[in-house]
Structures are given as C-alpha cells and as structure tokens.
C-alpha cells in the first residue's frame, strides 16, 4: 500500500504509525500493514476490496458487517484490524466455490430471504456459525441466533425459513 501526502515543509506528515499483521482471509494467507485504529471491516472492504461485508451502523448493533473469525461470528465494525493478527477470517465471498453456491446462499434465494440484500451477507455468516454448532436448529433457535442481525425489509420469517432450508440441505449432504 502506498500512501502519498502533500509536502508542506514540515515533518508531521510522515509519522503515521503502522502495524504489521498476518491473517488468513477466506483460506488465503495475507500480510497487511495497518494503522492501529483501523477497523477490521475497513481492512476487509478497503484493504482487501471485499465489499460483500457491509457497514450499517458502526456500533455493533445491525450485524451487516458480521464475518467469521476462527469460525465465530464477529461484528467487524467493532474489532480492530490489528486484533485479527494470527486469526482466520471468513467473509461472504468465501461462502461459495467458483460454480457451486453454499446451501445458505441457495436457501436465501429459494425462500425469498432477502429484498434489498444489504443485511444478507451478515445474516448468512451468522447462520453459518449457527449451523456449524447446531446442524438441526428449531425455528426458535434460528431466531435467537439471528437476533443480533437487523433486517428492515423481510420481517425475518423468510430469513428463518432460508436458514432451515440450508440446514436441511446440509444434513442431507451429510
């Protein structure tokens, strides 16, 4: 990453502290040099260009920025990029292969689990963590697991159905 500043004839311009971190993103090992205050969500969106992780509220409420850190759902707008050092991060872009969709992606399309699509990546990442832990959740368990992710379009009913659809498919795949 190259940073260019206007030369104003003083020394203040050059002193931006930088930390070097190593992490894995969607299975790929990476090194980044980041400002200590950089949010993980900004590293993902701007540094890595993975814009599927959305930012809705910057305050850990809406869940649009949810990613998996070592398999656990984390709201990346309130985690610093430096805290990702040594950890493995998974975003929506890592859900599917080149041609094949993840059952959650299929489920959201089949059950009309999205409208504007802004909350969808965060919803799917949270749901992925749930299904890894609990492959046969009840409707109530799905609702509880998703309660940190806000959606303004769907009313959740179809999101819940989408997750249950994916659970079914994942189970049938063994």
């Amino acid at each position: 990453m190259t940073i260019v500043y206007e030369d104003r004839g003083d020394d203040a311009t050059s002193e931006v502290p930088v930390n070097r971190i190593k992490f894995t993103i969607n299975g790929q090992k990476m090194i980044a040099e980041v400002e200590p205050r950089l949010l993980l969500s900004h590293l993902i969106r701007r540094g890595l260009g993975l814009t599927g992780t959305h930012m809705g509220c910057d305050t850990t409420n809406c869940g649009a920025c949810t990613v998996l850190v070592d398999g656990r759902p984390v709201k990346s707008c309130t985690m610093l990029a430096v805290q990702a050092d040594g950890h493995s991060i998974e975003t929506v872009e890592g859900l599917s292969g080149q041609s094949e969709l993840h059952p959650l992606q299929e489920g959201f399309k089949q059950e009309h689990g999205l409208q504007c699509g802004f909350c969808t990546p965060g919803m799917m990442m949270t749901a992925k963590a749930l299904l890894a832990e609990n492959p046969s959740p009840t409707e109530e368990e799905v609702r509880w697991a998703l309660s940190g992710n806000l959606c303004r379009c769907t009313g959740y009913q179809n999101i819940v159905k989408s997750v249950l659809w994916a659970a079914d498919k994942l189970r049938s795949q063994g």
């Binding site: 940073i3 500043y5 206007e6 104003r8 203040a12 311009t13 400002e35 205050r37 950089l38 969106r45 701007r46 260009g49 993975l50 814009t51 599927g52 992780t53 959305h54 930012m55 809705g56 509220c57 910057d58 305050t59 409420n61 809406c62 649009a64 929506v92 872009e93 859900l95 599917s96 969709l101 992606q105 959201f108 399309k109 089949q110 009309h112 999205l114 409208q115 504007c116 699509g117 802004f118 909350c119 969808t120 990546p121 799905v142 609702r143 509880w144 998703l146 309660s147 940190g148 992710n149 806000l150 959606c151 303004r152 379009c153 769907t154 009313g155 959740y156 009913q157 179809n158 999101i159």
Partner: protein, 796 residues
C-alpha cells in the same frame, strides 16, 4: 390448436419467480454506493451541531486545514459565497446546506472536511472549533405556537412565527350539520410519534466532476435519480445534460432516500472545487438525527354517529411538527400529504379536516416512511377512531365496520375529501380475516381468560390507500407532473432490455418488470434484462416511493410492451403474407385466424424487424411509453391481531396475526408476500418500540440503534397471510394495485386496538405508541390514558 405458451412456465404474471437480483446479493457482489471506488477518490465527513438551537458566533477551521491529508474544509460562509448555503426543498421551503447564522436542530450540518482518508476527515472535523450561543429549543407544536415563542426561521422574510401552513379540506358546513344530527359523538386525540425509516444502509454519495468534459457524475443513494438530476441542475446551476445521476444498488429506502440532503450537495461542490471524486458516507447516528424522519403528528378528531351505528360525519385536526425545515416530498397541491385519505374505505357522508404545520428545533423531514404521503397517520387515526366509536356505541367492532364500509356496488366511490376509489370488496376481506383468526371462538376464550385474570385482546385494522400518484392533473412535485415511463428494446435474437424511471430498493423490479413483459409478449422473463437508476439511459420517471412503481412504472411497462406487440403484429402479417386483420395473438405467437397452425413467434418477428421488414416500415423493434395514470389504485387490507397482556409488567405478546391483502392482480405472489411481511414487521415496530423523541433541550433520544429500537428476529411474530380476495384495478393495464406499504400503513392500529381491547375493563381509551411495557402498565395500574410523546428527562 392453440400453441400459446404456459405463462407461469415463462415466468409471466402470477409466477412466483425467484429473484434475478438475488444472484449477486447472496454472493456479496451487490454494488452499493459505498462499494464504489474511483481513481483519485477523496473522502468527506460532516461536522454536525451538538445543540438544537444556537447562534453561530464563530467557526475556526485553521487547525483542521493543518492536518496532513486534508484537502478542503467547507463552512457555511464558504458555501454562501457560491450561493449554496441554502437550497430549495421539495415543498417550496429552503433548507440550510451548511449553517451560517444559526443551527436549528441537533445534528445539523455545520462544516465538512475532505481528506485522503475518512479517518483523517473525521480527525479534522474534530479539530474545527465552533462557538455557539445557545437559544431556547422548541420541540413540539404546542411550544412552537405558544406566545412569545422564539422564531426558528428568522432567516425568512414574512415568517413572523413558527407556523408553516394552515390547510383545510372538506365540507365544514355539511360536517357541522352532521354533528347537529348525531345521536352520539365520539372523540379521540392521539399522537403518532416521530419515527425514522432507518434503512440499514445509510445515505451517501460519490461526486465526480470532470473539468475536461464539464460532466458531473454522482453515484448516490437515491430513490428518485431523475428528480435529483433536475434538483442538482437547479441548485448547482449546472446544465442538466451535463449531470449524470447513478443510483446503484440501494440498501433499503423506505422514503428516507427521496429528499436531497446537504451531504450530497457538499460532496458535489467539493468535487467541482477539487476536480477529484469525493465520497461521502454517512454514519448511522448522522442518518438518524439529520435525515428525513416520519410522522410526528398530533391528531384530534370526532365522529358523529347514529344510534344504529351509521357514521354521519367526521371532523379532524392535525398538528404536524415538521422540524426546522419544511422538506417533505409530497404532491404540491396538498400541504399535509394525502392525510385526507382518512376514512376513505367507509361511507362517510360529510367530513372536514384542518391541518397546521409548524417548525421546531428537530431534524427536518416528514417523509413518506413506507407510505403514500401521510397515509399511515390517516389510517392509524381512522382505525383507532373506529375502535373508539364502536366501543362508545357498545357495538362489536367488526359489525361496526361492516355497517359503514363502502359496499361493492358503490364503486367507483367518491370520498367526502374528493378521492375516487377504484374498486374493492371490503366486507369480503373482513369475513376472510375474521374466519382466519377464529373471531367468535377467540371472544369466548377471551371472556373465560378474563375470569382467570388473564388479559387477552383482539385488534382489527382495515385500510385502503391511494397508491400510484398521479394522475398528473392533480399530482406534481414542484410542478413536475407525476407520471412514469418505460423503454423496451427487443434485440434481433428476441432477447430484450427494459428500462424505467423507477428505482428498485429491494422491491425486485429486475424480476417483476420482466414478468410483465413476459405476460404481454410471451418472451420468457429470463430473456428480459431490467435496468434502472442511471439518468443517462433511463427514461424520465419520478422514482420509487409511495408504492407507486407497480401502479405507474409497471403500467408503463405493459403499455410499451403493447406498442411493441402492435408493431410485431405488422411484421407477423408480412411474414405470414396475410393482412393484419387476419392475425390473432396468443401468448408468444401470432397466427392466421383461418389457419391457426400457420404462425410466427414473437422471436421470429424480432429477427424480421432487423432482417426482413416490409417495404416502408421503420426498422428495429423498440419503443418508449409514458404512462399518466387516470386515477390512483386503492388496495384494501384487513389486519387482525390477538395479544396477551401481562397486567403485572405491561408486557404484551402477539398470539396470532392474520393479514388479508387485496392488492388486485399479483405480478409475483412471492414478492408481494415478502413485502407484506416486511410491512407488518414495521407496523409491529411502530406499535411496540420504534420511536424518536427529544428532551426539553432538543437532544435527540434515538440517535443510534441502542436507543432507537428496531425489532429483531427474536421479537418479531409470525404472520399468516391471505390472498383469497382479488379485486383488479379497473384502470390499471394488468389490474394491479400498489402493495409495498399497506401493512406498514394499516398494521399499527391492529396492535394498539388489540392491547386496548385486552384492557377494556380499565376504561382506558388511548395509549399512544409505542406501547412500551411501562406505558401499558401505567394505563392498567392507574386506569388512565397515557398520551403524548414519551416523556424523557433532561439531564441538567
């Protein structure tokens, strides 16, 4: 023998076609405004006022300029030198872009910084020093109109007080007479609290001015890009053909992304000054405290009744708090939106409505949050008043509605406020709903439960909504007539591109518009790509809000496809070597009437338009249709809710919710049901938790998602939807009506009526929304109404 295509198989009208747009969204490949990065792009942040009302004594930006990486600091004074400190609103008022003289609400834009990086821009905003002289804040209409109230808009000449308008509609004398003849007069006063549409994606823009070409491109979160193009031309004084507005994927709108916000204007000016792309992305707090709010209206009305339950007349007064600037988007002939659609589904002989709008030291707005211009307030008051009147008469609320509904044989029906209802089967919808919820059975359960101290309640709400403005005779925004358009190009291989002046934000236009084309032409929906949101390519349209896309743009899609079909018929006659009069149409195919086996498909006509047209025919197969609707469409719905209220805590739980929506012909039932469920959830939110209030100093309480509560998957109840009743709109080309907002409009009253029904024994007549547990508990415990904006203590 007919060779017509199976319409459902080709994804036509009535097919629950899976959505085209999902393919990118589920992969994280949507393209929202903040996802766009342009070469050389800079970032803008806004400094907002911490005070609700204060004179600006000085703004010192020197420390901000000193921060490395800062390119520009804009203040109101600098905007003023370019005549950009103020901008016109969509309601013939003005709004400050960056404050010069005073700040008039907490969160108002005072300055902005453009820097290499948003973090640097935020640092620099904090380095700006603003000296304020605090002034008393006004936070409601009563304060605004009190004697000696400070004048908020002292920037305006001829504005001696805080009143924006006094407006009146209906027949006063006839209504007075109805009240003289009444056996019973029922009265209700309530507050519909301030709310915020709050799409998860906030507002933002990327302005990109190219000095070499003089062209300005703005990527922005707007529901109405073509209106914005006109607005930018007027505000920034740029030629309209040199402005391109692109509305990329939008992460929800709900009315919040209709107005022009100062951030857009500042990013445009910054890009012009710096000749580099400038991105502004609002944070959630900025979105909640400064952009278009909704509701915040005090409604006071009375109903004249005959003993047998017939409504004789309605009187109503509205006090609307518009915040610091009158910036609602609404048809210009109506000062308070379509509030006068109230009681439209009831046969009310006489009605009179007065409305007063006032300024306050709160964020401007009054936007149509998932509704057609104040219809939500109209329907909420209507259904709360109906419940109160039925109770006063000692009549069953379902029976009272049945007695007063506009009957099926009365359509088209003129309301006392002048609307013309197109069609409906109101009583039938109610019967479907009552059966689904098990009305009689629930009443028995309720009576038994009450003996055991358990409080069960059932609430009914019905609604009809004027959707699809115009006609252009009556509906315009700033003089621009409200119509829409569609452009359809059939390529030579029978594939097609459709463009409209609407802009989808989750409604699924890319899926449903193609279904209308499939219905009209027999082209498989998957062969039609839909493009919206780029003003350089889209035909003119007023955008997507107020549930107007299907009624207006959707109708234009039908009409343009029919134009294409008319030309294809001439091509078919040429190919089949018969006269046009001998040609018949069935889905996807023209054939010779006397020899039905002889025919050509629509695709064969398409290739002929480029390779084998008759002599003298203009080549190609494309067209544009502008659609000016003859009337609004009027969907109808019945929502029924059962609840249990805990008298010890005031907490209430939804037991069951039934929705019966008659929105005419459904293009895509799956999408319609998705919209209804989304609307019901927002209705639940309004009734239960979602509101923005202010303390006495004008501090916004509800500036983040910890204070502004949105329902999650955990609280949101399940919904049972019914689609048995279908009354096509007689004037819409495919019989469709608007639907996106109905449930959000009609739903809230059902929840409130249910809770009040549960505590009917207490004599409580009204609890204002949201029905927070403490408010319900207070009503039950002290047996009194709980009214007004929820009280919040000032922390002084």
């Amino acid at each position: 023998m007919s060779q017509a295509l199976d319409e459902i198989k080709i994804g036509g009208l009535g097919a629950s076609r899976k959505r085209v747009e999902d393919d990118r969204f589920i992969r994280g490949k949507g393209n929202y405004t903040d996802d766009i990065t342009l070469p050389g792009m800079l970032h803008m942040e806004i400094l907002r006022s911490p005070l609700a009302h204060a004179r600006i004594k000085s703004v010192d930006t020197s420390k901000a300029w000193d921060i490395p990486g800062v390119h520009l600091v804009l203040t109101g004074e600098m905007m003023a030198t370019r005549n950009l400190a103020w901008m016109p609103t969509l309601s013939y008022d003005t709004q400050a872009v960056l404050a010069t003289d005073k700040v008039r609400f907490q969160g108002q834009e005072v300055a902005c910084v453009v820097a290499d990086d948003p973090y640097i821009a935020k640092d620099a905003c904090e380095a700006i020093e603003v000296e304020y002289e605090p002034l008393p804040a006004i936070v409601n209409p009563a304060q605004a109109t009190a004697d000696g109230a400070p004048v908020i808009r002292d920037d305006k000449v001829n504005q001696p007080d805080n009143v924006i308008y006094d407006w009146e509609v209906g027949d006063k004398a006839g209504t007075d007479l109805a009240f003289e003849q009444a056996d019973v007069i029922s009265r209700l006063k309530l507050h519909y609290p301030r709310s915020h549409p709050s799409p998860i994606e906030c507002c933002g823009s990327i302005a990109d001015f190219n000095r070499a070409t003089s062209k300005l491109t703005v990527y922005m979160t707007t529901q109405a890009p073509l209106i914005i193009r006109a607005a930018v031309a007027l505000v920034a004084e740029l030629p309209e053909h040199m402005i391109r507005i692109v509305s990329p994927d939008i992460g929800g709108g709900f009315g919040n992304k209709v107005p022009v916000y100062p951030g857009y204007v500042c990013s445009i000016l910054a890009s012009i000054l710096l000749e580099r792309p400038v991105k502004w992305i609002e944070d959630k707090s900025g979105n909640l405290i400064s952009t278009g709010f909704a509701r915040d209206i005090y409604l006071d009305g009375e109903m004249a009744l005959r003993k047998d339950g017939k409504i004789l007349g309605v009187r109503m007064h509205a006090d609307a708090d518009h915040g610091a600037f009158f910036s609602d988007a609404q048809p210009s002939k109506f000062k308070i939106g379509l509030l006068h659609s109230t009681f439209a589904c009831y046969d009310v002989p006489a009605a009179h409505l007065t409305a007063r709008g006032t300024y306050s030291n709160k964020a401007p707005g009054g936007v149509a949050y998932r509704c057609s211009f104040r219809v939500t307030e109209a329907m909420f008051f209507q259904e709360r008043m109906i419940a109160a009147a039925a109770a006063d008469l000692g009549m069953d609320p379902a029976e009272f509605r049945r007695t007063n509904f506009v009957r099926d044989d009365q359509f088209p029906h003129r309301t006392p406020f002048g609307f013309l209802l197109d069609s409906g089967q109101y009583a039938k919808c109610l019967e479907v709903g009552l059966k689904a919820i098990g009305y009689e059975d629930f009443r028995r359960q309720q009576a038994e439960a009450r003996k055991r101290g358990k409080l069960l309640g059932l609430g009914i709400s019905t609604m009809t909504e004027p959707l699809g403005a115009g006609n252009s005779r009556e509906y315009d925004i700033l003089g621009i007539k409200m119509f829409d358009s569609a452009e359809l190009k059939i390529h030579m291989t029978g594939k097609a591109i459709l463009r409209t002046g609407a802009r989808t934000q989750g409604q699924g236009h890319e899926t449903t518009w193609a279904q209308i084309v499939a219905h009209e032409l027999g082209l498989p929906a998957e062969d039609v790509i839909v493009e919206e949101g780029d003003t350089d390519t889209a035909p003119f349209g007023m955008g997507t809000y107020a549930s107007r896309s299907t009624p207006v743009a959707g109708a234009a899609v039908s009409m343009v496809a029919r134009k294409i079909r008319a030309k294809a018929r001439r091509l078919a006659a040429h190919l089949l070597e018969v006269s046009e009069e001998d040609i018949e149409w069935e889905l996807g195919r023209f054939y010779v009437r006397s020899a039905p086996d002889r025919g050509v498909t629509i695709q064969e006509c398409a290739i002929a338009a480029y390779s084998n047209m008759p002599d003298g025919m203009e080549p190609g197969l494309e067209n544009t249709a502008y659609y000016d609707p003859p009337n609004l469409t009027w969907p109808f719905a019945v929502y029924l809710v059962t609840v249990e209220v805990d008298p010890e805590t005031g907490v209430w739980d939804v037991l069951n919710m039934v929705a019966v929506d008659d929105c005419g012909v459904r293009i895509n039932p799956m999408i319609v049901e998705g919209q209804i469920m989304g609307g019901l959830t927002e209705a639940y939110a309004m009734a239960n938790m979602q509101f923005i209030t202010f303390d006495a100093d004008g501090n916004c309480v509800g500036s983040n998602y910890m204070d502004y509560l949105l329902p999650t998957a955990w609280e949101t109840p399940g919904f049972e939807l019914h689609s048995e009743v279908v009354t096509p709109s007689p004037h819409h080309p495919i019989g469709a009506k608007g639907i996106g907002e109905c449930a959000a409009v009609g739903g809230p009253a059902a929840f409130v009526n249910a809770v009040l029904d549960a505590i009917a024994g207490t004599g409580v007549r009204n609890i204002d929304m949201p029905l927070l547990p403490d408010r319900v508990w207070e009503a039950i415990t002290y047996r009194h109404d709980v009214s007004g904006a929820p009280p919040v203590r000032s922390d002084d």
